[in-house]
């Protein structure tokens, strides 16, 4: 065991290296690229006994990852954002092959507008793909959970690919001290890859991923995959217990931060939960009864754990770093579904959307959220979902628009007061006004 200063990307690369994976199909995309650069360099300098191949797209990359896993080697790959979506057809396809491998996704907002910084719309688009999902909030967790992910994917009760998710920039490029396990210990923990009966050999020909005709055969295989995915909670718990015994770091399916004795609970995914933790600390110091639940596993969804942890809570605020257009926060609706039939579930389940495209969520905003959940209990009313945005941000955008208009008017010889297409009509409602 040695201590190193690693970025989230570096930690992910170390995870792949320590898991002794054989094959890395790759394709560069910001903010993930450092992962494949690290691995490529280790392979070039004989520090890692693996083969890396740069494909011509993420679609091809996931195809190659799937077929290599289906041939019988241990596979690791990484992507982000648009890349994950470009590969989306193959995510759904290869999970059905039941050939396990690990994919790291470095979360980044999706176009449009095209951007580089983090939110969770990319990873949530893969929600129903059949990949299991582990969401990380620290660099240490990224390394450790990459090792755990190989065990989870390859477990005979699961046999599904696993995505390890970390937030772009906030985690991918942030250096933290990370305990890097000894290579022999890590190798022993992960074990050798066992392809079981999913493999290509000349002496034992098989057909994989064949077509089916009709809904019966189709449903059979889809149900099998779903039931295997559901095993993920139990299996993750088992592996994490073993990991803790060996390396001394505990990973629960849901990270429970002072939620046991709290009346109010924040629920959120990923690295921004570390900001929520700070807010919880400060609020508790000020006398609030508040805690945080952060699901590490999103697929399978830890329904029973949520039901247990949220039993008899007064109110919950789900902070979604994603937005399902025309619906709202994805985690909010998932949690609402999990709690629906629970008689002692919290009556107030508030939805907040924030942190899109890397936008910060300040401690003050967490305080605002805390006040909103307390007020909901006080007034007996759940407020409508809130799109977090400040007056200052809106003013900044309006300023940019004004500058752009002036520039355009100068080019087209218009008077500054002339009406522009897209100018707001009086009485028209836009961002910022509903929350005033």
């Amino acid at each position: 065991m040695k201590r190193m200063l690693l970025t989230g990307n570096g930690a992910a690369a170390w995870g792949a290296r320590l898991a002794a994976c054989d094959y890395i199909p790759a394709f560069p995309i910001t903010p993930q690229t450092e992962i494949i650069e690290d691995i490529a360099n280790w392979i070039d300098y004989d520090e890692m006994d693996a083969r890396i191949v740069t494909l011509e797209s993420e679609h091809s990359m996931i195809t190659a990852a799937g077929t290599a896993a289906a041939t019988g080697v241990r596979v690791f790959s990484a992507t982000s954002s648009q890349g994950l979506l470009y590969a989306m057809e193959m995510l759904y396809t290869v999970s059905g092959w039941r050939a396990p491998f690990v994919l790291v996704n470095v979360s980044r907002g999706l176009a449009t507008p095209i951007t580089l910084e983090a939110d969770h719309n990319d990873i949530l688009a893969a929600r129903d793909s059949g990949f299991l999902q582990i969401h990380c909030s620290t660099c240490q967790e990224v390394l450790d959970n990459t090792l755990i992910a190989f065990r989870l994917a390859e477990d005979e009760r699961i046999r599904l690919p696993v995505i390890v998710n970390l937030d772009g920039f906030y985690l991918s490029f942030t250096r933290e001290p990370v305990e890097v396990p000894n290579s022999d210990a890590a190798k022993k923990f992960v074990g050798d890859f066992n392809a079981e009966n999913i493999r290509f050999r000349a002496s034992t020909p098989i057909s994989q991923a064949v077509a089916v005709l009709g809904g019966s055969a189709y449903s059979y295989f889809r149900y099998e995959t779903h039931l295997a995915a559901l095993n993920g909670i139990t299996v993750y718990d088992e592996i994490a217990t073993e990991f803790s015994a060996q390396f001394g770091r505990q990973y629960d399916v849901i990270e429970n931060y002072y939620a046991d004795d709290a009346e109010y609970v924040f629920v959120m995914l990923g690295s921004f939960s570390t900001k929520a933790k700070q807010a919880v600390d400060e609020l508790r110091n000020a006398g609030w009864s508040i805690g945080l639940l952060r699901p590490r596993l999103l697929r399978p969804f830890p329904k029973e754990y949520f039901q247990k942890y949220l039993n008899e809570k007064k109110a919950v605020a789900v902070i979604d770093q994603n937005i399902s257009m025309g619906m709202g926060g994805v985690l909010h609706s998932e949690l609402a579904g999990a709690l629906y039939d629970q008689t002692k579930a919290p009556k107030y389940l508030l939805s907040f959307i924030g942190g899109l495209g890397g936008r910060d969520i300040s401690t003050e905003e967490f305080f605002e959220i805390a006040v909103a959940i307390r007020d909901a209990v006080k007034t007996g009313q759940t407020p409508p979902p809130r799109l977090m945005y400040t007056q200052a941000e809106l003013s900044e955008i309006r300023k940019l628009q004004a500058i752009a208009n002036v520039e355009r008017n100068e080019l087209t010889d218009k008077e500054p007061g002339d009406k522009e297409p897209g100018d707001k009509e009086p009485g028209e409602k836009t961002l910022g006004e509903e929350n005033d």
Binding site: T63, A64, A202, A211
Partner: protein, 309 residues
Amino acid sequence: MTEQNVTIYRNMKNLPSTHLLGTGTPMCAGCGGLEALNQVYDIVGDKSVFVNAAGCMTLLSVYPFTPFRGSWIYTAMGSAPAGAQGVRDALDILIEKKRIDKHEDMQVVVLTGDGSAYGMGMSATSGSLERNLDYLYLCYDNEGYGNTGQQFSAATPHAAKTSTSKGARGFPGFKKDLFAIWVSHKPTYVATVIGAEPVDLARKIEKMTKLQGPRMIIALSPCPTGWDFDPQETVNIGKLAVKTGVWPLKEYIDGKVIHTKVPKQRKPVEDYLKLQGRFKHLFEPVRNEQLINEIQNRVDTYWSEVQLL
């Protein structure tokens, strides 16, 4: 003469009399693609993994049956060559790391239709060629999206009627020169074949199985349902495609293109066209002399340039 040039397939008598590929597949009667695949599979053999892209032949392996004695994996329409990359790399790794014996190795064969090969799969194919992937690629080219009812594809010939080009002049575009596109990557081997010329086909497959690197093959595949002709005419139409010069049989190897079967006296293209319902509008109700000449001229120009080489 190198060993590569020695062929055991000198004439029809040397060809296998029984086929390796199982019978009872759901392909259409008279399928020119299956005709070619049967012959290819006899020579490639069952020590192979067929990596398939979406197309008619995806239906060869329907759970729980397959006509293949070797292995198979279906991928997607756009990325079968990337699938081949993963299988090839994994087999290499397993052999290098001594986890499997060398006799467990296999030929990796991509099997796609023209819809994938000429279009959606082009980027993945080009990538595999630049990476010099060691594999075989068989494109069965029936000149349209056959599995969905013969809409025109980038492989459809000029003037052909398809379900998305039903007008008086048929398909306004021109068949893409996939052979030239592949050759421009300078792969190990590229060839055109047709099931109706089995000796030419067998020699080429025999040659390519002994080589390393990307080995690419386009099989023109007369399609009774898509081209609208009686299934018993498949072989006849295939032979006419060669005799009229519409489908030049050729190969690219060691930096040179060689025509392997040059028709001495080319038959007029209309001999080939008039047997197919997709070209019926060139002859009925009135003969479209201009369009027939246009097609003939294009074929003549091709061959006049070949003679110059």
